[in-house]
Point group: C2
Chain length 371, copies 2
């Protein structure tokens, strides 16, 4: 495939950047002596999973029972499904738990009760807590509810109580690195108190798994009681992470190569064949209040890498199959129909999810999980 003249939008991955991102995070986990359980929802690819294995990774997180099945098939023997279990999937969960070391999460006695009544293979269970994100999880100060759930898990012969788990998604709302670190420190103190409360009620030696790429990228270390980190997005990073300071634009390892199909220099715009079904409608706000669906780079000669994002050029609008790039007059004038432009995504997980395969630069296409 000639990436300087693409036929259709292609999701491209820079293996040098992605492997560097993996190595850096693995090294950081090792330095703190915590387990590294990367979340594979970002790349969803068995081949890219292999890059983690080369860094010594043996346990992973995924975001659905189906994705767990895909990676079990690819040889992964310990998988955590990091979305609260749906009791109606108990039969599928039980079947997979008969094949690999399967971990699930939950935040209610109802779900614990349902699993206790239907699981026959050994299943590891984590209690999800909420330290401020307010999506799923038991409110961290509700020690009685945490203890009730822990007790219900412990009484079930096939369930194994692992510990507490948190996803501090509110780091994405923080303003810069210090804001992310402040969320992390608050969360860690609250989790330590909850663990102490559970310890006092007889639930000893519980593990603590934390997630989210902003925290894991920006924290200097992962002190006790943390035993595990579970970031996912860091393998590719994206504009959201760059905006938070989790990475620089040069660390972003996934993008979409799109052909230019329409020129409008009189408007300062060109139009890409590449829309919401290739890039996703996730957007961020530019300083002037307008929406940005991606930043624009050029493909380097040879098609083995892309260049730095262009100043003042942005994907300003996105319909189902097409996107409008606005930029400085000299740049727009220089672009011809058929040229490839590379879009750095706002949210790489959603972008990669849209594609049936990922094109690894210099290596070729790799297949991935699909819904």
């Amino acid at each position: 495939m000639d990436l300087l003249r693409v036929e259709r939008p292609v999701c491209i991955v820079d293996p040098v950047k992605a492997r560097r991102n993996i190595e850096r995070m693995a090294g950081k986990a090792a330095a703190s002596g915590v387990d590294f359980r990367p979340h594979f929802k970002t790349h969803q690819s068995a081949a890219i999973g292999g890059w983690f294995r080369e860094c010594g990774v043996g346990k992973i997180a995924v975001s659905s029972v189906d994705m767990a099945g895909y990676f079990a098939e690819a040889g992964w023997e310990e998988i955590l499904i990091a979305v609260p279990a749906n009791p109606h999937q108990a039969r599928e969960i039980d079947a997979l738990a008969g094949e690999i070391a399967l971990h699930v999460i939950l935040d209610s006695t109802e779900t614990a009760e349902a699993l206790a009544g239907s699981i026959r293979n050994r299943l590891s269970v984590w209690i999800e807590t909420d330290t401020g994100y307010h999506r799923t999880g038991v409110p961290i100060e509700d020690i009685e509810r945490l203890a009730a759930i822990a007790g219900r898990i412990r009484r079930a012969p096939h369930l194994s109580l692992e510990g507490l788990l948190v996803h501090d998604g509110h780091t994405y709302g923080a303003t810069g690195p210090d804001g992310v670190r402040a969320v992390f420190e608050t969360s860690r103190v609250l989790l330590a108190e909850a663990l102490a409360g559970l310890d006092a009620r007889g639930f000893r030696w519980l593990k603590l798994s934390i997630g989210d790429t902003p925290t894991c990228s920006l924290a200097d270390a992962f002190p006790p009681p943390i035993t595990e980190i579970r970031p996912g997005n860091f393998v590719f990073f994206d504009l959201t992470q760059a905006g938070l300071g989790s990475c620089t634009p040069a660390d972003i390892a996934a993008a979409v190569a799109c052909p230019v199909i329409s020129r409008h220099p009189e408007r300062g715009e060109v139009v890409l064949y590449g829309g919401g079904v290739h890039i996703s409608k996730e957007s961020l706000r530019l300083p002037d209040g307008s929406a940005c669906f991606g930043r624009i780079c050029g493909m380097n000669e040879g098609g083995l890498s892309w260049g730095e994002p262009m100043a003042d050029a942005s994907l300003v609008s996105l319909s189902q199959e097409q996107g409008i790039v606005r930029g400085p007059a000299a740049f727009i004038e220089s672009v011809a129909i058929g040229d490839t432009l590379v879009v750095l995504p706002v949210h790489s997980c959603l972008t990669a999810n849209l594609h049936g395969e990922l094109m690894v630069l210099g290596q070729g296409p790799v297949s991935k999980f699909r819904l």
Copy 2:
């Protein structure tokens, strides 16, 4: 599949509503004596395409060469690819043009030149115009550029000049039905003038194809010089269309059935297993300025239909795999873990695109095109 207890998010289609939407639009086209070329990018399914065939439809539009190949395989013999052609796909376009009556669109002499030089089978070509949407298309007042492109097409032995085509996507920015009709009338007058100008330059008997669901739903008729309508979204409709007045919420024929996996009555919220990868991140603004990613219905007993959207309940937040539903206390209190909630989508094209199959209520799953 028990749709009252779904295991994972399922994209569901109400065939009664969808067939009614198709019949209504086909009837409207027939009443005006224009061709009806529905855009299949919304459902992307050969089985649902069959419902159109039963209404007498013989020609369709799609949004990519790949999708054209899928529907050609399914027996459709006249297909328009309604995104400006990428010259680097000329070989694929030519191959498909050898199998079916293939139509493409373009808005530049460069692309016309490229196709003239590489197409060997008969290919029908439309010139896309821009009457105010400002995405792709030749500015409608630029009669010289239109004539230059038309001339280049006409000189190519294998290209057949069909006429002008427009997608008035700026109807989506209109405030209500009268605003949509005003855009339509302005556009129609501009297009009639351009056609007269081309006629005066020797380009006689050109056709005129208009698109967009708001116009086609809200216009009373399609007077000359319109010869064809090309709406797509109307088969399913969605909250965006209901907001514009193109339909009522009761006409919306596609939705996502999601299991509840976490309860937070203290916040007035429950959390669905169902996120951006199942619903898409397209959102609209509620009157209070907050984002809405979908409205919430219940599944009716028997699983053959869903109920009316609940007042004041909304999908207020959407991460990769999970969504937060906020609603009145009595409703939230009544929801149990494992219950199915039905999400009416903001943009049904993007929602359906995310799924590998669609579940037709009362009939079963049907497969569809995938990127």
